[in-house]
């Protein structure tokens, strides 16, 4: 290459080409097709290529959209707040209280144990635990706390949130722990020397410094919950409809145009939420730190 000369302008273009091609062919073009399909009519397992606004008018006029988004936002708020508290507590303990690197590694590995089995198996195994004749009900019954089984433990919003928290806490804890590990011990020492209590250190020093971690974790949670249809279906016993579930229902019925319209709306909303979060924290700058 030494004998060849290339203008920096061309070099930059060449460097950007592979990624541009991938983004164009695998992201932009399929999205454009989805958008186009959302304006088409449909019959029995066929897309009728005629301009049709019905998919969009149904989306914006029906209570289904309001109902499904109300459900998913409610679930997102609960999952986000619970995983945030849990993720922060776990990371804080691991980073600031576990002194030995070996134990830290062991605890981190322990957090990953549930993920050694496959997702479907994990979802199925909740039934013998939470069901009417499950372990929890048997234990409560045995202790004399209930005289008939509690049925809301399973196939309810409770079980959906519980399993989301089980699956997603590490997605929140990971980025937070990563941010915490970057805090120099001398900063905390300085705060202590100034007489700050542990709570004050957390509030005044740690939380401001781990904001990027929280934002990254939040993005993980938002995309996971908004995009999930499988978990919510399995754990609610197919009794809850979210935007992703509604799309799945239509795809299973080979009704692609309304599913396309719903997908476009879901994508815009998720991108909007992520974009908004990125306005508050410059992740690139923080991660490069």
């Amino acid at each position: 290459m030494s004998s060849m000369t290339m203008s920096p302008r061309i070099a930059s273009w060449l460097q950007a080409t592979p990624f541009t091609l991938i983004m164009t062919c695998l992201v932009m073009v399929p999205l454009a097709i989805i958008l186009a399909v959302s304006f088409m009519d449909y019959g029995f397992a066929e897309i009728i290529p005629e301009f049709y606004l019905g998919n969009w008018t149904d989306l914006f006029r029906s209570s289904l959209t309001v109902d499904t988004y109300a459900t998913v936002f409610r679930q997102l708020a609960m999952v986000w707040s619970i995983t945030l508290v849990l993720g922060f507590t776990i990371s804080y303990y691991l980073v600031f209280h576990v002194r030995s690197n070996m134990w830290r590694a062991i605890f981190l590995a322990a957090c990953a144990i549930p993920f050694w089995t496959s997702g479907p198996i994990r979802m199925i195994s909740w039934v013998p635990l939470l069901g009417r004749e499950g372990l929890v009900n048997q234990a409560l019954f045995g202790m004399g706390l209930i005289d008939q089984p509690i049925s809301w433990l399973l196939y309810s919003e409770f079980s959906v949130i519980l399993v989301y928290v089980n699956m997603l806490t590490m997605a929140m804890a990971g980025p937070i722990a990563n941010s915490m590990a970057k805090i120099s011990p001398s900063i905390i020492q300085a705060a202590r020397d100034q007489g700050a209590s542990e709570w004050q250190v957390i509030q005044e020093v740690i939380i401001p410094l781990i904001k990027p971690g929280i934002v990254v974790g939040t993005i993980f949670i938002i995309t996971a919950v908004m995009g999930d249809g499988f978990l919510v279906r399995a754990m609610s016993g197919n009794q809850m409809n979210t935007p992703a579930v509604a799309i799945m229902n239509e795809i299973n019925a080979f009704q692609f145009p309304p599913a396309a319209a719903k997908s476009v709306v879901l994508l815009v909303i998720v991108l909007g939420m992520v974009g908004l979060l990125l306005r508050f924290v410059d992740i690139r700058k923080e991660l490069a730190r």
Binding site: G131, Q239, M240, N249, N252
Partner: protein, 433 residues
């Protein structure tokens, strides 16, 4: 082919392989003109057969490859993937299986072959459910839902529209069928279940489940609503918009009152719901009820007053075969004939499904197996499934009795309604409620 000749065709002699039997066994004139080099030339042909977990499995594929002179490659797909593949890439498939809930997708698409009746050897031995649209005794069956005769024949060789009157072109070769009913936990129900109406009886509140979908779950709900006196329909299997609205509104009311425990999407979920006692009365498929019983848990699967919900699976060849290699098309026809000739039918009969040619099965199943599965006789020895598991002990009688006791009172068939688009939309409202 005369009935006499085909009965004389034992499984063993048929299975000596296509190479040997092409000339001899098929010499009856149905598939004519195979030159002697046929077996040699077909050696390199690979047939792609896509189907469900019920119709594709390694044991049957292995036997087919042993018996036939060419290669069968089976692929198991879930129904959505399978139908999408047939609609978008039909040329990648030679043979496909699908049930009555999918039959509405193939009209005017031109992807399925019109199978000439003359090329299927066992048509004259096929149960009249398919050939005539009647029960064995000649009585007509319910036409609510996608009844077999509604999608059995193409109107003509162009394979665009179905005909309810017999023609010379088959949409598919019927492979298996059965009658579904509600599964019951007899040890947990407050009283004996004899009608679909019990599904909406308040005694069962919070302890029932429906299949999650508009092709099976909604027909089940409709039969139950009608039996409970909450609804009346002109045709439950093909509702009007008004009937759909009323049905969904009633179901929403019941859902809000906590009547449903769950909705299941697959076999395993339905087994688990029943085995764990989460539900005591639910939509169910026959093998799921059997699976619950093999775990030592009582599960009844009895015919109810209003009749059963019938279903069937067709095997079809793809239209591209007609315009392609003649030899390949011959192999496909040979394979589809093989599928109903013995091994495959015996294999799934021993799991509780019915073959469309029961007389052929009788000749090839043990007396005990055939007596238990088809004739409603008490088992004279343990009933063992094809995987070697004991399904029933000696002395057991099949729920509902013989083939025609079980299959002879279909109230509704699995369906795909004309108003599917509207129904799916309203089902979404129901799920969101």
């Amino acid at each position: 082919m005369s009935e006499q000749e085909s009965k004389g065709l034992s499984r063993r002699s048929f299975m000596k392989g296509a190479a040997a039997t092409a000339g001899a066994a098929l010499g009856s004139g149905v598939i004519t003109g195979f030159p002697t080099y046929w077996a040699q030339a077909s050696k390199d042909i690979t047939i792609t057969h896509v189907g469900s977990i019920y119709t594709t499995n390694p044991t049957v594929a292995e036997q087919a490859n042993k018996d036939l002179g060419f290669t069968i490659q089976m692929q198991t797909l879930d129904n959505t993937t399978l139908i999408n593949r047939l609609l978008t890439q039909p040329e990648t498939v030679d043979v496909a299986d699908f049930g009555n809930t999918s039959m509405g997708y193939f009209k005017n698409k031109g992807i399925l072959m019109a199978i000439p009746v003359s090329e299927y050897k066992y048509w004259d031995q096929t149960v009249p459910l398919f050939t005539q649209g009647t029960y064995a005794d000649g009585k007509p069956y319910s036409m609510q839902g996608y009844a077999p005769i509604k999608s059995q024949y193409w109107a003509d060789a162009s394979a665009q529209e179905y005909s309810t009157a017999p023609t010379d072109w088959l949409v598919g070769i019927p492979v298996m069928y059965n009658a579904d009913t509600l599964g019951v936990r007899p040890d947990l129900v407050p009283h004996k279940v004899e009608s679909w109406g019990d599904f909406f009886n308040s005694d069962f509140a919070g302890k029932v489940a429906l299949q999650d979908g508009v092709n099976v779950g909604v027909p089940d709900a409709a039969v139950a609503l009608e039996a409970a006196g909450l609804m009346t329909y002109v045709d439950k299997g093909n509702m009007t918009r008004e009937e759909i609205d009323k049905t969904i509104d009633l179901l929403i009311e019941l859902k809000r009152a906590g009547h449903f425990r769950s909705f299941w999407t697959n076999f395993d979920q339905s087994v688990q719901l029943m085995a764990s006692g989460e539900v005591i009365l639910q939509s169910m498929f026959a093998p799921a009820a059997t699976e619950v019983r093999t775990r030592g848990i009582a599960c009844q699967y009895l015919p109810l007053k209003e009749g059963s919900r019938g279903w069937y699976i067709f095997q079809s060849a793809m239209a591209h075969l007609d315009s392609g290699d003649k030899l390949r098309r011959d192999c496909v026809m040979e394979y589809m004939n093989w599928c109903n000739s013995g091994f495959n039918g015996v294999y799934f009969s021993r799991q509780g499904f019915y073959s469309s040619v029961p007389d052929l099965m009788k000749a090839q199943m043990s007396e005990n197996d055939y007596g238990y599965w088809y004739e409603g006789k008490p088992a004279t020895a343990d009933i063992i499934d094809p995987f070697g598991k004991v399904m029933e002990k000696a002395g057991a009688v099949r729920d509902g009795g013989s083939l025609w006791d079980r299959m002879g009172n279909v109230g509704i068939w699995n369906t795909l309604m004309d108003e599917d688009r509207y129904l799916v939309r309203r089902w979404q409202d129901f799920m969101a409620a």
